[in-house]
């Protein structure tokens, strides 16, 4: 089974979690995801998601100068985003626990 369908629902939570630590710009986020072995993620998936999160008020963005390149557009988690992340974590851990339990019981 491919990773993509599973990842689709979880990516939003992953992005919120990464940005909750510190503000990142798009390319840095892709690098962070790749470092976590989510190498199938590229901008084609990420930029529409960031646009959606900004539209929903979970993220805001700002442009800041960079010492080694062009100005960059950083993303910042809003209080709404923190609420969404908390909600996602709760649902994810419940879901993960239930799925693991089923897999343990019915597969050897």
């Amino acid at each position: 089974m491919k990773q993509a369908p599973l990842l689709k629902g979880a990516l939003e939570g992953c992005v919120l979690a990464i940005i909750s630590e510190q503000d990142f710009y798009g390319y840095q986020l892709i690098q962070q995801l790749h470092q976590s072995d989510l190498k199938s993620i590229n901008g084609g998936t990420l930029y529409p998601l960031l646009a959606k999160l900004e539209k929903n008020g979970a993220l805001t963005s700002y442009i800041a100068p960079s010492p080694d390149g062009p100005d960059r557009k950083y993303f910042h988690l809003t209080p709404t985003g923190f609420e969404q992340l908390t909600d996602f974590k709760k649902h994810w851990f419940d879901f993960s626990k239930q799925t693991t339990e089923i897999l343990r019981r019915f597969t050897k």
Binding site: G43, G44, Y47, A51, T60, S66, K73
Partner: protein, 214 residues
């Protein structure tokens, strides 16, 4: 951190400047993406669209420094990405939409005014004709934009949509000329002194220039 409110023009100028730093393959990729989004963007907030594109271009330039190309960064399905981004864009504000419609209408009105009214003592305006002109030429512009948008990422084998749109375009033009030329019985004429009409025309021209500037 609170972001200053930059205008669509501010982003557009920086996009134009930054795009020049790309190599030819990446320039082509990004320019096509930008074109596709911009021509679809008649009904969307241009500032927001340019803001998203600006962030993406900054990231691409950053990725280029690590020898990552546009295809590697954004993927091989830019059309899908563009469509998904468009869904997130807020619709254009009513005032902005009105400005666009007025700009097109104003240009057609000025052309029509000078075509029909050589300098003389008084002029006659066919108000209905002017309203129809505004309507049909706005429709014409909307179709042109859709036609151009469909050119992006279109496989060569499926140009039938463009052919249908072209048909619509010519039907629109044909209808407008027919209506303007033949519906004389619906004329609603207003005769104004020449100086008042000229003054109105000059006011429309100044408004158009002001709108174009913004």
């Amino acid at each position: 951190m609170k972001q200053p409110r930059y205008s669509a023009k501010w982003y557009r100028e920086r996009l134009n400047r930054l795009e020049k730093q790309l190599n030819s393959a990446d320039y082509q990729y990004f320019d096509e993406l930008r074109g596709c989004l911009s021509f679809a963007g008649l009904n969307y907030d241009e500032t927001r669209l340019n803001q998203i594109l600006f962030g993406m271009l900054q990231d691409l330039i950053d990725a280029n420094q690590q020898e990552i190309s546009a295809v590697n960064l954004f993927g091989k399905q830019p059309k899908q990405m563009a469509d998904e981004i468009l869904i997130t864009l807020p619709p254009i504000k009513w005032f902005e939409r009105f400005k666009l419609y007025f700009l097109v209408a104003g240009i057609t009105w000025i052309i029509q005014f000078f075509r029909e009214n050589p300098v003389k003592g008084t002029i006659t305006l066919n108000l209905l004709q002017y309203l129809l002109l505004a309507f049909f030429f706005n429709l014409f512009v909307v179709i042109i934009f859709k036609l151009i948008k469909n050119q992006f990422y279109q496989p060569k084998s499926s140009h039938w949509i463009n052919i249908v749109l072209l048909g619509l375009l010519f039907a629109t033009l044909g209808s407008s000329f027919y209506l303007l030329g033949n519906l004389k019985f619906l004329q609603l004429n207003v005769t104004l002194p020449f100086m008042i009409s000229l003054g109105l025309t000059i006011m429309i021209m100044i408004s158009l220039i002001a709108i174009a500037e913004t």
